[in-house]
């Protein structure tokens, strides 16, 4: 193995009227370090940008999907399924989604997503005798009113789909936070 020379770093001297001077070793250190960092950035930055690409993708808006005839909607929430086109990277599929659709007290139609806002299980309407006429989540007893207001466990109300009525049919759009309850 090679012998080790003593690389004692010299302190910068205060010559030139107190102006701090750089030693040769420091100058070379900064120059070589800077050049190395610049050269390393060449391959490393593209790879990092490549890896974080999903963070920088804009959120995509979903299209309107025809779900059910308007006349089928009652005051009691009912579950309807509908198919959406989904592009997931290189994989395109048509998953089936579920919405609970009902008329509010003002007669307006609204649609809730049954994904519990506690930890993401699926809620059901009127499925537990302890909580009649409520959405109930079997995982941790979270329950919600007909409008999706969170009554226990869950920190937020159920998410709501955009609703459009056209030609006697209910169309659902993108999913967003609940606007029916505060």
């Amino acid at each position: 193995m090679s012998e080790h020379k003593d690389h004692r770093v010299q302190q910068p001297t205060r010559a030139n009227g107190g102006k701090r001077e750089m030693t040769r070793r420091q100058f070379l250190g900064y120059t070589l370090g800077g050049t190395t960092a610049f050269l390393a950035a060449g391959p490393v930055l593209p790879m990092l940008r490549f890896a974080v690409d999903p963070l920088l993708q804009p959120a995509s808006d979903s299209d309107w999907v025809r779900v059910v005839e308007e006349s089928e909607i009652t005051d009691e929430p009912k579950s309807f399924t509908f198919v959406v086109k989904q592009i997931d990277g290189w994989y395109e599929s048509e998953p089936t989604l579920e919405a609970w659709i009902a008329r509010g007290e003002d007669g307006k139609i609204f649609a809730l997503n049954p994904t519990c806002k506690h930890l993401g299980c699926t809620v059901n309407w009127n499925s537990n005798p302890r909580f009649p006429n409520q959405y109930y989540c079997p995982c941790h007893d979270a329950h919600y009113t007909k409008e999706g207001k969170n009554l226990a466990v869950s920190p937020l109300p159920l998410d709501q789909y955009e609703v459009k009525i056209e030609g006697g049919f209910v169309y659902l759009g993108s999913l967003g936070p609940n606007q029916l309850v505060d």
Binding site: P43, F50, W90
Partner: protein
């Protein structure tokens, strides 16, 4: 700031001798291109290692998007190259680097051969270098199939026929690599496993041995 963090660690663990041992050593005059420009031929080994590092890094990043499955492999490569930012650069580094690493390794081998550096006491390092050469060719062969396009498929078809022609054990080698009776789903996952886990692990072990030996024995003397 950095200096004080380093000192704090160094006081406790005494790390300075470790990295000095690795990084701080004499470069003899006859291998330093600043003294004799023709000494650039001594750079090929280091360049091979440099490109190997790029290959490992870019490969690790490619696996963020790649899937080794016959239905999705081609589409995932197409997606990562054309839809993901800098995909063409990251895949380009891996694609061109794969060829370049073979070229640099070949030039390094020529230099070692014509300077007679393989002779006593460095015979073992030559043998390890040859093993590295074959592992690199294996990495090139297994990586070529992964995009799962026509070129990949038929290159593998041909490569496996060549393996098949080995006397006595050829058939077994072929079936082992193919994972079945056709080049298909099982071949792709096998090649993927070999390409990203087994061969790189062997390669890193051999590179470690290669470098330890060269530090023990030093660079061979001038011609």
């Amino acid at each position: 700031m950095l200096k004080s963090i380093y000192n704090w660690i160094d006081e406790r663990l005494d790390v300075t001798p470790i990295w000095r041992d690795v990084a701080d050593h004499e470069v003899p005059e006859h291998v330093n291109p600043a003294h004799h420009f023709s000494a650039f031929v001594y750079c090929f080994g280091g360049l091979t290692f440099f490109i190997t590092v790029i290959q490992i890094l870019s490969g690790m990043f490619l696996v963020f998007y790649y899937v080794p499955d016959i239905v999705n492999a081609y589409n995932s490569v197409d997606y990562l190259q054309h839809k993901v930012a800098f995909g063409v650069i990251v895949r380009g580094m891996h694609h061109w680097g794969a060829s370049l690493v073979i070229v640099m390794m070949f030039l390094h081998t020529l230099r070692v051969f014509f300077t007679g550096s393989y002779k006593n006491p460095r015979e073992m390092n030559w043998v390890v270098g040859m093993l590295i050469f074959f592992v690199m060719l294996g990495l090139g062969f297994t990586g070529y199939l992964l995009p799962w396009d026509n070129k990949a498929y038929f290159a593998t078809q041909v490569g496996l026929q060549i393996a098949d022609s080995v006397p006595f054990i050829g058939e077994y080698i072929k079936t082992f690599l193919q994972g079945g009776s056709i080049v298909g789903a099982q071949t792709l996952t096998r090649f993927f496993a070999l390409h990203v886990f087994f061969l790189p692990a062997v390669l890193l072990g051999l590179l470690g041995a290669h470098f330890i030996m060269i530090r023990r024995q030093g660079i061979s003397g001038p011609l």
